[in-house]
Every structure is written in C-alpha cells, then in structure tokens.
C-alpha cells in the first residue's frame, strides 16, 4: 500500500515535472522545432471542430488553429489537433500537452486568474440555451420545472443551470454527460427532456439530427458565454501571437480583406495604410511579434477572414444556420472590435 501511494505521488510529481520542462524553452521555438502546432479542440462538435469523412478536421475553432499555424509555421496544415473534453482541456493546456486551446471555452474570471490562463480574445459571443423536443410543447425555459436535463460536465453551463433553476425556484434532475455525442444520444433516447449547452452548440447538434425540425431551441439565453482561444500563463510572446492572429482575422473582415483579394492587396502597398501594415507591405509589425512580415497574410489565406470562416462553417447557408447576431462587426451593430494594427 505504501508503494501505491508512492507511485501515485510519483505520477503527480512527474506531471508537474513535465510541465516545468515544457515551460523552459519559449513556446514558439518549441513549435518551430516540432514543426507542428498542438491545438486543443473539442472531441467533435460539427461546425466548430469535427473531423470529416477523410479525417480532416474542419470548423470554426479549427480555423483559428490553422490561422495560427499558418502565421507561425507558414503551413495551415501543420496542426496536430488534440481532442479534449470539458474535463481534460485545462489539464492538457496547463501541462503543455497543447500549445493553445480553441474549444468553445467560456472566458471567466476564475479561469483567467485562478487557473493561470490567458484568454486572448473572443471568437464567438454565445449564451447558454435549452433545446427540447417539439412534442413536449414547452415554449419557455420557465416551464421546465421538474425536468431531467442533460449537461456536459465540467463546463460553466453546469453552474449556470444550477443558478437559473434556483433563481426561478424550480427543480430539475441533472444528467452529467462527458461529451456532446453521448449527450445527443441520451437526449434522443428520451433519457433527458432537455439538453442545455451554449446556443451555438445546440444549433450545431440539432443540425446533425435526423429530423432537426422536431426540436426547438427555447428563447431564453440564460448566460453570457464569450468563447475564445486561450494559452497558459508564462509566455506572453506566444500569447501575443495568438491574440493578434485572431485580431488579424477580425480586422481583415472589417477592412474588406478576403481570401479572394488578399493576393492582390498583399502584393504591394496600397492606398489603405492599415491594410498595408496588416499584410506587411508597410511597417514592421511582424518583426515585433518575432515573425516575418507576411504572418497575417498567411493567417488570413489559411481559411479566409473572420466573416468567411463564420459563413463557411456555421453561417446561415450551412446546416447549423447561425445568424451573425452579436458576432457581427462593431460597424454593423455587433461586438467584434479588433484593436488597431499600428
């Protein structure tokens, strides 16, 4: 018995030791040496991150990973996608198993401050919603008293759900589920009446159902869920690269830089100085980041600007059919607002 306690301690210490080793060299150098970016994503949420029939990862969060890989390594495919669950994601990031996490993760105070992570921005403004079968006849989340609710465990939704039912003096039975796929199965089998997660996730899940029209999303959005990529504390240069790659995608949409016209705009300095600085035809922004001048150009070319990524993966023309809503540019009444490139 003494031995097993010792082995346990050894494991814990081993994990801690490996984390420290990983933090010795700078993250960018490690990625360059490895030739691959290790990017943590979901275990599969269509539209955000899911492998297709050929095993190729696709999706909105995947797009961010590919943009960063393109900026740092010059190759949008030089990404090792590491599927993580709600429970394993933070350990994976903290231990150095992944370089960044792009897994519709909600930016909260305690994750940012207490867990020692750095959220580099928001790539999707979301909120928690409820999905119920249409035949249940519920039209509002306030009618869900006594319902059995499927939740993904280890997420902020678990806490919001408890708060919402308590605030409305209702009871419920939680069914904690590890992954989206399992939750879907439970929900469809009727083992729970309600499935709750971020509204975007519900829309994406519903899109994969045999008959999506038999399920409704209730109008209540019970929380703010700003989802964004994050890195661990301790390497600010790396954090800057991820932050400004995301900003570059957002700014590119605002400035009208698309994957179609970027070749032309990036070939030589044009009339708009901010586009020039973004695409590296003017100024030394890339150098300040420790990258070359064309970093942002490659990031945008990887999958298009923010708007293109959105439209291709989760936009209104896809089965997921999410409207831009809060995720429109600030110039169009949304919340997307990239700081100036100067």
């Amino acid at each position: 018995m003494k031995k097993s306690a010792f082995l346990g301690a050894l494991t814990v210490a081993g994990i801690a030791a490996s984390a420290a080793v990983a933090q010795d060299a700078s993250t960018v150098d490690q990625i360059k040496e490895r030739g691959k970016l290790n990017c943590g994503v979901t275990t599969g949420l269509v539209g955000f991150a899911a492998p297709d029939a050929n095993g190729q990862w696709n999706g909105f969060d995947v797009g961010v990973c590919r943009a960063v890989a393109a900026a740092v390594l010059g190759d949008a495919n030089a990404v090792e996608f590491v599927p993580t669950t709600g429970k394993t994601r933070f350990t994976a990031l903290a231990s150095g198993e992944i370089d960044m996490l792009a897994r519709n993760t909600t930016w909260t105070f305690s994750r940012d401050v207490d867990l020692k992570f750095e959220f580099v921005g928001v790539n999707y403004y979301d909120g928690q919603g409820f999905m119920v079968p249409k035949e249940l006849g519920a039209t509002s989340a306030k009618e869900l008293d006594g319902a059995t609710v499927c939740i993904q465990t280890g997420t902020t939704t678990e806490l919001n759900l408890a708060d919402f039912f308590r605030a409305n003096d209702m009871s419920y039975e939680p069914v904690p589920i590890e992954t989206n796929a399992e939750a879907q199965q439970q929900y469809l089998a009727g083992a729970c009446d309600v499935y709750t997660t971020d509204a975007s996730g519900l829309a994406a899940t519903r899109a994969t159902f045999e008959d999506p029209s038999a399920h409704v999303l209730l109008p209540e959005i019970i929380s703010k869920e700003p989802l964004g990529p994050l890195v661990r504390h301790g390497d600010n240069e790396w954090g800057d690269i991820v932050r400004w790659t995301l900003n570059a995608l957002i700014a590119a949409e605002e400035l009208g830089v698309t994957s179609a016209n970027i070749g032309e705009l990036g070939a030589s300095a044009g009339a708009n100085p901010e586009i020039n600085r973004l695409l590296g035809t003017e100024g030394t922004l890339g150098e300040m980041l420790g990258l070359d001048a064309e970093w942002a150009k490659r990031a945008i070319m990887a999958g298009g600007n923010y708007g293109e990524l959105f439209a291709k993966n989760i936009g209104e023309d896809t089965p997921i059919a999410l409207a831009r809503g809060l995720n429109a540019q600030w110039t169009e009444g949304g919340l997307l607002y990239a700081p100036p490139f100067r």
Binding site: M1, S4, A5, F6, G8, A9, L10, V12, A13, G14, A16, A17, A19, A20, Q23, G86, K87, F90, T91, A94, S110, R111, D114, L115, K116, E135, L136, L144, D145, G146, A147, T148, T153, G154, E158, L159, L161, A162, D163, F165, R166, Y172, E173, P174, V175, P176, I177, E178, Q185, Q186, A189, G190, A191, C192, D193, H233, G234
Partner: protein, 413 residues
C-alpha cells in the same frame, strides 16, 4: 550450539567497515539502508520539484476550496445537498454514492458468483456449460464495456416517462406501483404517518435497532435449543419462536408509527414520489455484479474442488442429500480457500466503481475528482483526496475481510 556460533562467527568483537558488504550478518541491512536512502532522496527530489514547479506557475497547495459553495447539482444524493452546499459536502455525497454502489455490487456479485460457481460443477451438462459460457463471456470483456452496454440498452429499450402519458399510453406501470423507465426504476417508497422523530432517518435507525434486538433474541433461542439438544439429544422446535421474535416487535413498531407507501406518479416531466433507482446506478451496479460475479464463480469452483472427494463421499455414506452435503460439508470448508481471493474482488469492485463517470453516476470520482476538480482547477489537491479516500476504503475492506477470514479458516490446534 556453541560450536555453531564459533564456526560462523570467527571475528568476534572485531568490526571492520568492509564487513558491511562482506559479512552476511550486516550485508542485507546495508543494502536496505542504501535502498531507503535512495528512496527518500527520490521522494524528496520529486516532492521538491513539484512544489517548485507549482511556485513557478504561481500555484499553491491549499484545501480552502473545499469550503466554497459547489455551485452544481447532483441528482442522486443520500444526504441533504443543493448547489449552495460546499465542495466538501459534494465530495461526501459522492463518497456515499460510491459506498452505496460498491456495497450493492459486492452483495449481488457474491450471490451471482456462488450460484454460478456451484452450478458450474453441476452434473447437469447443460447447466454446467451455461455457467462456463457466463464466466468466460463476462470476465473476458472489460467492465467499462459492460457498463456502457447495459446503460445503452437500458436507455434505448425502456420507455421514456412521457410514454406513460395519455389515455392510451404506450407503456404502463407494473401493478400500478412500479414504473420502469429509461431514467431508472420508480418503486413505492415507505414513510411514516405518525413518526416518533421528526428526522425520518432516526425512525429508520429505530427500526434497525429493533431488528438487531430480534437478531440477538433469536440467537439466544438457538443457543438454548442447542443446549437442550446436547442434554437430551432432541432439538426442540423453535421456528415459531424465531418467526415471532422477528415479526412481532418490528411489526408492532411499524404499526404504531403508521407505515404507509408512497406510490410514484407521473407528474410533469417525471415520476414523482416513491423511490427512484437511477438508470446509471442500475447499470453500474448490474455491470459490476455480473462482471465480478464471473471471477467469484471461479473462486468458488476452485474452493469446492479443493475439498477432497472423500468428504462428499463420506457425507453421502451418512445419507446426506447432495444439497445438504454442499451446504453443510463442502461450502463451509471451501470458504477458507474462497475468502482470501474474495477480498481482492471486493476491493476491485470498489475501485472499478470509479468508472461511474461513463454513465453519469455521481460517485466520488465524478464529484470530487470530476466537477469539483474542473470548476476549481485544484487538480493535485482533488487527486490526493481521492487517493486517500480509495486507499482508506480499500484498507478498511481488507481489514474487515481478513478478520472474517480468521474466523472461518481452518482452526489448527
């Protein structure tokens, strides 16, 4: 004696450093001391490394989070708990759930195991082969797979509660009392209309105390009967005494306290009232039972086969029928072979119950090692607490079972 010592001990009184390695009297001690020092250094190095790395990352080891509100709900709770309770309380809820499923699974696994083990030696070809199939199938597929298979089948095959609704429902309750749904089984729940204590728990303690009293009294009766038998050779008939001692006191108590049954009823989304045995608990309990039962069956078979054939033949010669031979002659002797490996199966059940997370059962790994760990980010603290819990429970089971083993093992005089 003196000669022996003088032969192996020629350098009396003279100690040289090289003797630490060359002399058999000191060598093993030397190596043990070296091993202990190396081990201590390794632990010190790893522990120090851990603390240093945590400090570098700006983290510390602190158990203060246990007092903070947990913020999440748990569906199966044996003690009072809501989302405002502390993380420590959530851990206790998880611990009780772990103990509950482990206990239930140990009991049923033993029953399955004994039945299958005995039947496997049956003279009936069909029965013994069926039991071989059971043993081979269940112990050769990982228990996690069994848990998931049983849970999936349950959710897919059983009707959802809404199937019970309407004038011509797709599903109906058994005897209007039991509802089998894909969320679990709802059974009538007992309660008292005129309880002695406001806390329902205390009333049940009282019932248990009365039952314990009955047990004691029946033991006395049996003791007395044995005494009479030894004196006169005839055992007095005691079954009506025993029956009365078991039934009358507890029956009176329940009558006075006004025992009533609450029948589950479909209200809103779910059945309300009565007792709910969650689907996750059933799947986990059943999977652990049949899986471990297959191993126990093999132990039981081994134990029985370890008893010499002559014992069975002697019992037969005395005119005992096969079933009595098994119960009175073979099994009691087989126990001393069966018990020691049984301990490790009980330990395995307890540890395997941590697979609960696969079906969303809120055991201690799911609450303390799952949601609490995730919401607070206190991985090392939570894992240490989990290790301490499982270690403690396993050691307690071990101690308890070893104690029982002492009582059944062959008494050598």
């Amino acid at each position: 004696m003196y000669h022996m010592t003088s032969m192996t001990d020629p350098h009396r009184g003279q100690f040289r450093l090289s003797m630490l390695f060359n002399d058999t009297r000191y060598r093993s001690l030397t190596y043990q001391a070296i091993a202990a020092i190396v081990l201590a250094l390794a632990i010190w190095y790893l522990g120090n490394n851990l603390l240093q790395n945590l400090r570098t990352a700006g983290l510390n080891i602190s158990f203060g989070f246990l007092g903070d509100p947990a913020g999440y709900d748990i569906s199966q709770r044996l003690v009072e708990y809501d989302s405002q309770s502390s993380h420590a309380r959530a851990a206790i809820v998880g611990i009780l759930n772990t103990l509950l499923v482990s206990f239930l699974a140990c009991v049923t696994a033993t029953i399955f195991g004994v039945i299958a083990g005995v039947l496997r030696l049956s003279n009936n070809w069909l029965v013994s082969k069926l039991m071989s199939v059971y043993v081979e199938i269940f112990r050769n597929i990982p228990v996690l797979i069994w848990i998931i298979i049983i849970f999936t089948i349950m959710t897919a095959v059983m009707p959802a509660p809404r199937a019970f609704r309407g004038d011509t429902p797709e599903a109906t309750m058994l005897l209007d009392m039991f509802a089998f749904t894909n969320r679990g089984v709802y059974t009538p729940g007992p309660y008292f209309t005129a309880p002695f204590f406001a806390n329902p728990f205390l009333n049940w303690v009282l019932v248990l105390a009365v039952l314990a009293g009955s047990l004691f009294a029946t033991r006395r009766v049996a003791h007395w009967a044995t005494g009479v038998q030894e004196q006169s050779g005839v055992r007095p008939t005691t079954w009506y005494f025993t029956l009365g001692l078991w039934v009358v006191p507890v029956g009176l108590l329940l009558l006075v306290m006004g025992l009533a049954w609450e029948i589950p009823e479909l209200k809103g989304f779910n059945f309300k009232g009565g007792i709910k045995i969650g689907g996750a608990l059933i799947a986990l309990w059943f999977a652990l039972s049949i899986y471990t039962g297959a191993f126990i069956a093999e132990n039981v078979r081994a134990g029985i086969q370890a008893i010499s054939k002559g014992q069975t033949e002697a019992a037969g010669a005395l005119g005992l029928r096969p079933r009595r031979t098994m119960n009175l002659v073979v099994l009691p002797q087989a126990l001393r072979v069966i018990i020691p490996p049984l301990i490790s199966h009980y330990l395995n059940i307890t540890k395997n119950s941590s697979l609960a997370i696969a079906v969303g059962y809120a055991d201690v790994t799911a609450t303390l090692g799952g949601i609490t760990l995730n919401q607070t980010g206190r991985a090392i603290e939570c894992v240490l607490l989990l290790m301490a819990f499982y270690l403690t429970i396993s050691l307690l089971i071990s101690v308890g079972m070893n104690f029982y083993n002492k009582s059944v093992k062959l008494k050598e005089r």
